[in-house]
Chain length 885, copies 2
Amino acid sequence: FCLLCVCSWSVFVCVQSCHATKPNMLNVHLVPHTHDDVGWLKTVDQYFYGDRNDIQHAGVQYILDSVVDQLLKNPDRRFIYVETAFFYRWWKQQSSSMQQTVRQLVNEGRLEFVNGGWCMSDEATTHYSAVIDQMTMGLRFLNETFGACGRPRVAWHIDPFGHAREHASMFAQMGYDGFFFGRLDYQDRARRMMAKEQELLWRASDSLTPPVADLFTGILPNGYNPPEGFCWDQSCDDPPIRDDPDLEDYNVDDVVKRFMAIAENQALVYKTNHIIMTMGSDFQYENANLWYKNLDKLIRYVNGLQSNSSKVNVLYSTPSCYLQELHRANLTWALKTDDFFPYADSAHDFWTGYFTSRPALKRYERISNSNLQTCNQLEVLGGPVSRKGPFGGGDSQTMKKAMAVAQHHDAVSGTEKQHVANDYARKLASGWQHCQVFQISMILSVSVALIQFSVSVYNPLARPVTWPVRLPVNGTAYTVSDANGKPVDCQVSTVQEVLLYSSLKTLCVLVFQFLKVTFDPDTGLLSSLSNLETQQSIKLTQNFYWLVYNASDGNNSLSIQPSGAYIFRPNSSTPFIISSTAQTEMVQEVRQWFSPWVSQVVRLYADSRALELEWTVGPVPIDDSLGKEVITRLDTSIQTGEYFYTDSNGREMLQRKKDFRPTWQLKQSEPIAGNYYPINSRAFIKDDVDQLTVVTDRSQGGGSIHNGSLEIMLHRRLLYDDVRGVAEPLNETSDIFPEGLVVRGRLLLSLDRPPSAADAHRPLAQEVVLQPLLTFTDGDLNPNTRLEFSGLQAALPPAVHLLTLSQWDKDSVLLRLEHQFQSWESKVNSQPVTVNLQKLFSTLDVLGMSELNLSANQWKDEMKRFDWTPQKGTGRPNLPLTSLQ
Amino acid sequence: FCLLCVCSWSVFVCVQSCHATKPNMLNVHLVPHTHDDVGWLKTVDQYFYGDRNDIQHAGVQYILDSVVDQLLKNPDRRFIYVETAFFYRWWKQQSSSMQQTVRQLVNEGRLEFVNGGWCMSDEATTHYSAVIDQMTMGLRFLNETFGACGRPRVAWHIDPFGHAREHASMFAQMGYDGFFFGRLDYQDRARRMMAKEQELLWRASDSLTPPVADLFTGILPNGYNPPEGFCWDQSCDDPPIRDDPDLEDYNVDDVVKRFMAIAENQALVYKTNHIIMTMGSDFQYENANLWYKNLDKLIRYVNGLQSNSSKVNVLYSTPSCYLQELHRANLTWALKTDDFFPYADSAHDFWTGYFTSRPALKRYERISNSNLQTCNQLEVLGGPVSRKGPFGGGDSQTMKKAMAVAQHHDAVSGTEKQHVANDYARKLASGWQHCQVFQISMILSVSVALIQFSVSVYNPLARPVTWPVRLPVNGTAYTVSDANGKPVDCQVSTVQEVLLYSSLKTLCVLVFQFLKVTFDPDTGLLSSLSNLETQQSIKLTQNFYWLVYNASDGNNSLSIQPSGAYIFRPNSSTPFIISSTAQTEMVQEVRQWFSPWVSQVVRLYADSRALELEWTVGPVPIDDSLGKEVITRLDTSIQTGEYFYTDSNGREMLQRKKDFRPTWQLKQSEPIAGNYYPINSRAFIKDDVDQLTVVTDRSQGGGSIHNGSLEIMLHRRLLYDDVRGVAEPLNETSDIFPEGLVVRGRLLLSLDRPPSAADAHRPLAQEVVLQPLLTFTDGDLNPNTRLEFSGLQAALPPAVHLLTLSQWDKDSVLLRLEHQFQSWESKVNSQPVTVNLQKLFSTLDVLGMSELNLSANQWKDEMKRFDWTPQKGTGRPNLPLTSLQ
């Protein structure tokens, strides 16, 4: 990653204000904190104001009011704040004197920002591009508002439901010294507690040279809650410290005794004489006095016993102060190179449902990201004129903020209430509107002219793409010409008639330039796939299935956990087949009907090496009172053994093995759900000869349960809540779909030789992530209109991806160029590559450049991170994937 | 009342800080307040600390912390505080700088105390003596802590379930300028709203010359809650003011519009261009920022419209600022002379159950009051020695505080949860222990010597009494001698054998010096009562009955309201008779068995003009799944028409008429419960010739449903909660009574000629309220021991009651002497009477005296109250009772 940015930095004097610890004692770091979901049961703005407290009592404006008040009352007190989406809203409503007060608290280390992104992103269903954007937005605000003292040193993902390796890699590259989280597999935690490996070193990339992507990682002792009996928030019922001997129920001795016992027990499962306790939880500290008043007393009374030979020292602290003590301990730490998926909190409770929950929202988030990148680029390329043109004030900020909140771990994850999902979608739609002004401004002068109407196509990738443009028309013959007036190849197909066709009973073959697909004439199903270039061919069957959680099933003797927004828990490991045959019709595409609510169109395109499966699922019927989780399964002749591969946040690929975890002896309790992993952009199966890669158009869950098989979950309609807080079954309907949501999506299949498969799937996946943007103009164009424009002087080399091109401030631009190949995955493209920035842009003159960290909140050459020593022999080494199996 | 007290007064400068109002606008007085029950669902100390928040979220320590913080943030803000029991606990935990800050807020009128007693007392079941004590304790603390600026000017009983005339009279005599409450009969409210009589002048005594007992009384518009949609506490769900146009759901216009509509509607039912809104509720303001932040905005946005011709002016205010505006309006006000009992909140929801709920606690509270008065007197008479004698540090404070919290409207009322009732009892028991030290110190030197053991008897009344002393013994013959060695008349009766007797089938007559009672030989029931002195005789039948709320009864078509701690709602107006006959036995007393769980002993005593009915009820059986409410009913030959009479808080008597309310046209919907009134110390029925007075030993409920009949509810055991918040059926059991509580009590019956009946029942009731205290000493006494002692030089005249004799501070004593007869009730005793204080005490020298108001927080001659003008012709004049009927 490299960054181009000229921005101004204020110089502050930060006081490093960690409280002194005592070397010969057990030091208990109390970390007062609040966990403020950027939308979940309520929308982000409802949470901010404390509206709709009938749904959930939570008002972030009051939390920040109250915490600042309470910090001022006692300089020993500490607080950390995490979600900049909320902090930003609050900050801009404050008086300048209050702002000055808060600056002072930050400079003195009494209020510390941790994580500091716009939200605490989901790790399973987010694309790295959008995560970097949201982190950058939050960190930039902190940087511009508080300078260096506001820069978070610790990443803090206390709630996300499983942890992606790519997130750890990004955090390392953003300059974080450490990372803390709360949730991991219950078996993994049990082993780590025994082995004192709850604090470890995560080596989060197999391509970046250590320690670039090394991240110290700590697992918190109680999720992110306080220890039992010590929750003093207004939302808790634990007994306060009653220290007035004149009143009833004086309990200081009891409280101190209970606290010491908890601290000593906790110390048994950590390595140093420092332990951390998270004193807070969801939306706590709205009335911070309750917490602090009792914490003050706790500290006073526990430490008071030191004069009486107690060896427990308790102090107000922050994650960075705690981390500093761990670093000073100068120990070696267990190494980990895989990730923390899937997450199960008990034997039958796998949080693998949310990989697919709300597939329509997941898709809308993904194309919004594409749109935002385009919007950013147009803003740069259009210059100041486009921001205040004749069509009103365009801005990318609205979309940036909408996308940033959509990364939240109850947003794109699909684990929010329906009305909140609607709000995220509405915010994205508003973002689109604000971006449209750029498109109109820009594209009215750069367009492709057509008879009757013009379509402009903006490609946000830094290289040419071939892209089929499908437009609804009502004539039967059209002429389409490009910017130079040359005819463009086009087909007109009649959509309305397809339902009248019956299946063809002859062998059916779809062949184009690079690929051949055959369909079984008896079943109408896919039967083989061939790559004509590489001369490879595999048997390939594809069908659709559904899984079900049935409350009255005998399986429930094991557990009554139902499937829900978070959890995937089918009763049976054998999915129900929707139809063993498909009514199949071939026009210039193949259309398959599996049932009234499952159909698919199979297409090949000229110049494309991928087979497109455009699936349509819904409304999922529930008249049998059964919720259903719909998957498609590809069964192939590839000898996969028990392996398959999924991407991490759209970037690096990770190997997965059935019923296996790299770092502990797994006891598998859910044969399907326990083998599901997040698929962000692609998954593949392979053997020595063939690799079948499936590129998805949104985040989905999937697994490989059988040899040669790869299944992907497409849609979920559930009738029970899975008791993780949403209190609403995941049963999506809308005004347009009162009978249940219909979802459509695309899978792109690529069949290649393993050593060169990445050369195909890397650009293919980027083309799905960043799509050409179409804009339509009615009537004839102004003859002076430029019909073609490129912001680049030439296409970027294949290994380099234009991740970000965005206006930073009036005179500077943020540019992120990414080497998109893992070090081992391509003989050609994995090599280092050089780009000349001076010759990159067609319309921008580069006057200077400075390199920053990944999140653009610190000069790259000033980024100094703690060094950590891994234990020898721990952590199964993360060999390149090609050498495994 | 007159008072002897020498206490020091600080001089403060109070700033009268009411915000300016606008004469040509509707002024809306917003009164931020919290209602903090001194025990209800949690104990008083649990409420203070915020313990047991699983039962109810409430922590008063945090409320006061938070309110002070928020008042400091904006000098416009106001707050009122009510319950000194809580404020006192908080105050003594504060630093001196915080105390100084609070003093400043009080002096500037930003924090105002209203009511200011130790608690907000119940009005139906409290005795005036205990109410004066608790008010004095709270007001004294405020006075000594804050001086004149801390003196509440307004009484504030926003929650009690009906309002006693004696309370209004006391408040007037304590110097309050006005009184506000929230609950009154729904029909009464409806009429007063129509007539704009929700603000009125209450003439609260028929003996005191107006305006001594006149009290301006305001009925609050929403109970004590904020108007609908405007509750901004952490416990509420109303939408906050969202005034950031950049965030979703900007709602300022909507909020302002709704507020204006509510204000204008409210103004329609009040007289002036000022209205009050109570902005707060139960235990609110724990996080005061939520309230104030939104109130600040409300005021800003509503008043902002004045520049746009709006005529609504909204301001932070307090009850005294509001009252001042009403006074300035210089209008005439409707007059009321009766009281506000019973209270019904809808047609079938009469809050008359709590008159009797928890009869054991009610009795314990009453004898604790007697004990406290004795304790106070012994402290005065014993002098400093007794407070730090050889038996440890005795004190009356513990009992004073226990009694003060017991006056709370969910304490002696019986409307608290069981564990809270236990806590009140425990606190009283602790008070007894602390008082015992005085008794031991004092009584070891002043005793009556007996063989084997000595019994000392302390009489807290200021005149001699005849009092039977009943002691358990195991011999058969005893000699008892008095202080002078003279024999005392005594009987030994064998209690163990009584159950073996069968009923006597001969005419049974019990005759003693003054009274004759006959029993029907067929039924075993009382059949007549005669006063041998006055030669009067009435037929008198007494029996026991129970009423029942049956959930499956057809009556529930009207309403499903069950009986519970607060509510009395039997299905049928005809009570079930427990037995039409009683097994009756006469020894020297008459013993009656009505059922295994209802029995009674009837006694006459030498020198006593009263017949004692000692009833025992329980365990009330519930094996039929029916809760039961047990009454005893006296049916007489007295021609009562539809009238009967009950006392108000143990002082003045009020006339009651069946199915009638003096100030509005009653539509009766509950024939029994709607005719029940609180009986604090006595009730009577009468005609021209005979008056039968029943003196009770605790607060009970009762009514006169039939001609000649008087019924009193003795015990209640209920299986449903009555949905008024306790969430617990009133079903008392304990370790000693696992099958259900057994309760024993006494009714004293006096038959007299009406014009002189008070001469008998006034002293009789005082003897029940203030009982002789017995103390036992084992073995022989020191021969130097004084065997007899009186603190008085001579008995007080019959009309004068020694209400209070209590140590005030080191050098001064608080004395309250009360003329205990109403102006019309006795030819002899209603006359003015003179007492010479210098000749009152046997051991105290009176060096000086100063007269104070009733609550001892203001010099009598400095007590200046607002004058108010009653409307002519309103309020049915309160003629003396003798002239009615």
